[in-house]
Every structure is written in C-alpha cells, then in structure tokens.
C-alpha cells in the first residue's frame, strides 16, 4: 500500500519476524511511508507494532523480507542515515543513576552535538529544571518526556515514536499532540504507534492498522472513519424489543443491545422522527444519545475478535 508519491521514507517489503519461541510477531507486512506528515500505527496489544519498529531501526533482524529507512536496508547499512532518525522504542531507557541531562549529553557526545542542544530539547519537553535529577528518580511521565527529548536531539527528519503519550498527564498529552503536529507540519516525517485512538485521530494524517502482525487497513484518517458503519442513535427504553420491531417496520435499522437499549443506524437529524414514531405507539424514550463513527469504533470493528493475546 503506497501513500502518495515520492521517495518512501520507510518502506517494508514482505516483512516477517518469527521469534525463537516460534511466535510470529509480524507476517508479510508491506507498507511505504512517504516524506512529511504524521503517520499513525495502530494495533491491539501484541499485534507487532514494537517489533515492526525494532526491525526498522535495525535492532532486530527480520526473518524474511526487509525494511528500508531513508533508502537504507535497516539490517545492514543504517549507519549512513541514522543521524537523520530519532526514535523512542517501547519504554524510555536510560541509566538510572545519571541525571536526565547527563544521559542526553552522552548521546550528544557520541553524535558530536554541542551540549546546548541538550538544553534545547530539555526545554521543549519541559524538563529544563529537572535535568540534573537522576533518571531513576523521575516519574513515569518525566521519563517519557526525557525519551521524547532524546528523539529530538539530532533534529531528525524522521521521528519514530512508540506510544509516546504513555504515562503523560492530560496537559502532557496535549503538549505532545501539539509537538507532533508542529513537527509534522514542518516537513518532518513522524511515525507514531499509539493506543490512544482519539489522539491519533487528532494528530495523524494517515493511519495504518495491523493485527496479529498483518496489515489490515491503511489510509487517511477520513477514509478510515468513513469505513465505519456511520453514526447511530442509542435509545434507552423500557420495552426494547417492541421498540425495535416498530422501528424496523418503519424501515429503520434498529438492533436491541440489552434489556433497555436499542441502537438505530441513523444520524442525529432523525432523532425527532424516531421519538415521534415510538411515542405514537405508547413507547416513551428515557434517553437518546448520538454515537458518531470514529477511528475508535472503526478500529474496534476492524480488530474485533483479532485480539492476539
């Protein structure tokens, strides 16, 4: 599946990873990510997101197929492009007894970057004042912020983030969302795996959904949301079966959910008509609310029964 045109920043061809315990974490994955924009990478727990990211970064060797990062084969020749790539894989990993600043300075030293860069990225993630404290003493969210700072240190063109919002407070989530958007708009390519579908819907331009190591859907956020069953109205009522029969007789698509709930697959403009129809039959609503199709509902539909755990 190819999004847009131009040179692919990340490209997987027939990517497969089978671990030694014969778990097939990714299976024949093909995708291609063009330059610029924010790409969401979704999938249930254990679906192979982190494994895919590790393959991209050359941390694990694919069992078959290959993945190229900025045109270089990840398992062979990353060296020439690694300075253009920043990544956070799974969880923040730093030396616990060293301060946040010192941890980053070590990497800056390896890459030959000045220490002022370290201070710059610490400011961005709001750790400027706590940079001297040991990493081990950081809260979960602070650790995550440090890891994000580390990915920004090289001022990379490509940023790969594996669940960056993990452990962040609401304000932190908003900050990261803005940061990701801003980076995406400035022409960088952001590849972000996430569980927080609301976030993905707000931050990403394109989305790729995998399940059990296979690509099951990809496209722009709008395309994916449109794949959903559309909006529906959720009715709370005392005699749901009667209500459903009446509505179906009128040409609606009504489904009984439980002893007090019926859903009707229509948008909000029909709410009044539904109410009138039922009232005419001596059935009175106790409540009615709209449910909009969203990335979340689409995701749940697509991955339904696919939980790979």
């Amino acid at each position: 599946m190819v999004w847009g045109v131009g040179v692919a920043v990340i490209e997987a061809v027939g990517l497969r990873k089978e671990f030694r315990n014969s778990v097939v974490a990714i299976d024949n994955l093909d995708f291609s990510i063009p330059s610029g924009g924010v790409y969401g990478f979704l999938g249930p727990n254990g679906s192979g997101k982190t494994t895919t990211i590790r393959c991209m970064l050359g941390l694990i060797k694919p069992s078959a197929g290959s993945v190229r990062l900025l045109g270089e084969d990840s398992s062979k020749s990353l060296r020439s492009v690694i300075h253009r790539v920043g990544a956070l894989v799974e969880t923040p990993k730093f030396f616990p007894t060293f301060g946040g600043r010192k941890n980053l300075r070590m990497f800056a030293q390896v890459a030959g970057l000045p220490n002022s860069e370290v201070d710059r990225v610490l400011e961005i993630v709001g750790l400027g004042e706590r940079g001297g404290d040991s990493f081990g003493s950081y809260s979960l969210g602070m650790k995550q912020r440090l890891a994000i700072a580390a990915t920004l240190l090289k001022d990379p063109e490509v940023i790969i983030l594996d669940e960056p919002a993990n452990g962040l407070d609401p304000a932190g989530i908003v900050e990261i969302r803005q940061l990701i958007r801003q980076l995406g708009e400035s022409g960088k390519t952001i590849f972000v795996s996430s569980h927080q579908l609301g976030e993905v819907q707000q931050t990403c331009d394109h989305v790729m959904i995998i399940s059990k190591g296979r690509l099951i859907q990809s496209g722009s956020v709008e395309e994916l949301v449109a794949l959903g069953q559309g909006d529906s109205q959720i009715i709370t009522i005392d005699r749901p079966h009667e209500a459903a029969d009446i509505l179906n007789a009128q040409g609606y698509q009504a489904t009984v959910i439980d002893a007090a709930t019926v859903t009707v697959a229509v948008d909000g403009s029909k709410a009044q008509a539904i109410n009138e129809t039922l009232a005419a039959n001596q059935l009175f609503l106790r409540g009615l609310r709209a449910q909009e199709s969203s990335l979340e509902s689409v995701f749940l539909e697509l991955t339904e029964g696919e939980g790979s755990l």
């Binding site: 671990f19 494994t51 590790r54 970064l57 050359g58 941390l59 694990i60 060797k61 990353l78 060296r79 690694i82 790539v85 920043g86 990544a87 894989v89 969880t91 990993k93 730093f94 030396f95 616990p96 007894t97 060293f98 010192k102 070590m106 990497f107 030293q109 390896v110 890459a111 030959g112 580390a150």
Partner: protein, 367 residues
Amino acid sequence: MRLFRAELTRFWTRRMTWIVLGVTALIMVFVVGISFTRTSSEAPPEGAVPWTVDEGCLEDFSSGEIQLETGSSGEFTDEDIELFCRTWTGDPDKRFWAVSMLGEKSWFQETESGFGPSEGRPAFDTWSDYIEFRESQPVETMTIDGVEYQGSQEPLLGFLSGPGVFYLILAVILGGSFVGAEFRAGTMENLLLWEPRRVRVILTKFAVGFVSSALMVALALGFLTGLLSLLASVNGTFQAVDGRFWRDLVLVILRVSVTAGLFSILAMSVATITRHTAAAIAAVLGWFAVSNILIELVAKWFRPFELFVNALAFFGKGEPFSYVPTGRGWDFTAFHHGYLVAGLYVLAWTLIPAAIATVVFAKRDLT
C-alpha cells in the same frame, strides 16, 4: 573516537567505579595501618642468618623422642634434621618495608615450615642481592621414564600473587557491571540508535573497560606504594630498597594492571553473552573458586593452561608447572612455560570470549 570518549566519561562517572575505588582505598589504609604495628625501623641483624639450631631438638632426635615419618624421598639426612630443628631468632613480628612491599624477605629467606628443601640462606643487604640469589639458584631436574624434566620456579616476586587476585576481582566487578548495567537499563538499544555499527560499539566498550580498569588498578597500586612509603619512612626502613627494587615494582604494577584490564574484558564478554552483571561476575569468580579443586580432582593436565594460574605467574614472574607422575605416588612439578608465555595464555583466555561476545552481540536481536 567520540564514542570512546563518551564511554570513558561514563566509566569514570559511574557510581560503581567510585564505590570500588573507595572501598579499595579503605582496605589499603586498613591493611597498611595494621602493618604499622608490625614494622620496625630497627636495622636487620648484621649479615647473619637469624636462625639457631636448637640443641635440645637435636638431642630429642638422637634419643628417638622425635621421629619423622619416612617420606617417599627416602631417609632423612642430618641436614634435614638440622633444618627441622632451626629456631627463628629474629623478632617474628617485626617486618621491614621492602618485606611488606614485596612479600618476600629481602634480608633473609625463611623456609616455609622450618623444614623442607630450602637451605638456610645468607642475609641480603639489598633487593638486588636477593633477586640475584634467587635467580642463581640451580634449577631442580628430575628424570622420569627417561625424560629429563625441569622443576618450575615459584613466583620470584611473591608480592602480588595473593593480593593480586584481589585486583583481578576488582577488574571483573568493574568490567562486568560496566556492560551488565547497560543491559539492565536497556540503554544498549538506545546507543545503537546513535551508533548502529555493533562491532564498533562492543569493541569500544572493551577498549574503554580495558584502559579504565588497568588505570584504576595502577592508581590503586600507586596509592598503596605511597602508603607503604609513608609507613616505611615513619616506622620502617628503606635500607634494602635500591633501583632494582623500584624497577621491579613498576613492572609488577604494570603487569598487574594489564592483567586486570584483560580480566575486565573477560567479564565484559561474559556480561555481553549473558546480558547480566551478576552472571558475569559469578562466572569468573565462580571459576576462580572451583578451578583449583577441579584441576586437582579431575584434570591435572589442565593446570598450566588455567586462567588464574597463568595470571598469577605472569605478574609474579612465576612459572606455571605441570604435574608429571613419578610412579612413586607423587607428582613432580615440572616447568611448563615462563611468565611471559603465561601472559599470552591470559591474553588468549580473554580474546577468545571477547571474540565470541562480539559475534553474539553483532547478530543478536535486541528486544
């Protein structure tokens, strides 16, 4: 080079490094403090062997009151009996500086148990005299089944053969934890996002561990030398200390440091393979604990090839021996190789695991 510097910085700013250095310094101060009470600035007995033969003891022998079990080497000569009956007349609690420093008695040679193959030896005025005497001693030979075997020398510089293991242990702890901590914190994964050439990464770590551990042990030994010099100037004597002494001392420190660096590479290799600090330290120290027993019980032939045997021989200028059965119920301890070759054995013991670790690290999935 940037990676080297970054790793070097990490080594020397790690808490573990300073804990180890601090503990080492404390132990040294303590040991030297104790030595203080056991040293004296008195001059050694003038040109004499501080032994007398106890007449009562000789009489007990002739009257049959004391009997020695006949050894496999046959009857005891009068000389043997005289050796047995010698009494130490020096003050046993007084040691002189060069003595505590190099662990050998630079003025007089004490036989281990007062009875044995050694003869009463002349007193030595200087360290050089002592070394020359040791080196001029004829080499023991023995013909077994028509083959003439040479006996092996004990370490010439007994100084570090005991405490030397202590420095090796330090190096193992430093090296093992240097790499082990990386796997524990998961930072190896991070590092590879900055330098993906894995062979380069691991070799740089080996180099940093080697240089740093060696430097650290050299520092520790320098510190000890300083402490002992202080001790000697306050409560001891430099009388027997000459140029040769200082040269030997520097060479010993060099050899111990290099060996420590190699041991640190060994520990780093095991830590890379096991991905665990404790496993690495336990493996090397565990081997130290059981190797002697294993050799004695099941693989005597292995002795001259063993790691610690060679390490101790290398820095003590000793000669690892092999056991040659004499057919008389005991083994002759025959010369196998010299101390420089022993150093090469240590090198091999280090480089082989290091090569395996490099290959494993280059190929392994990091998850």
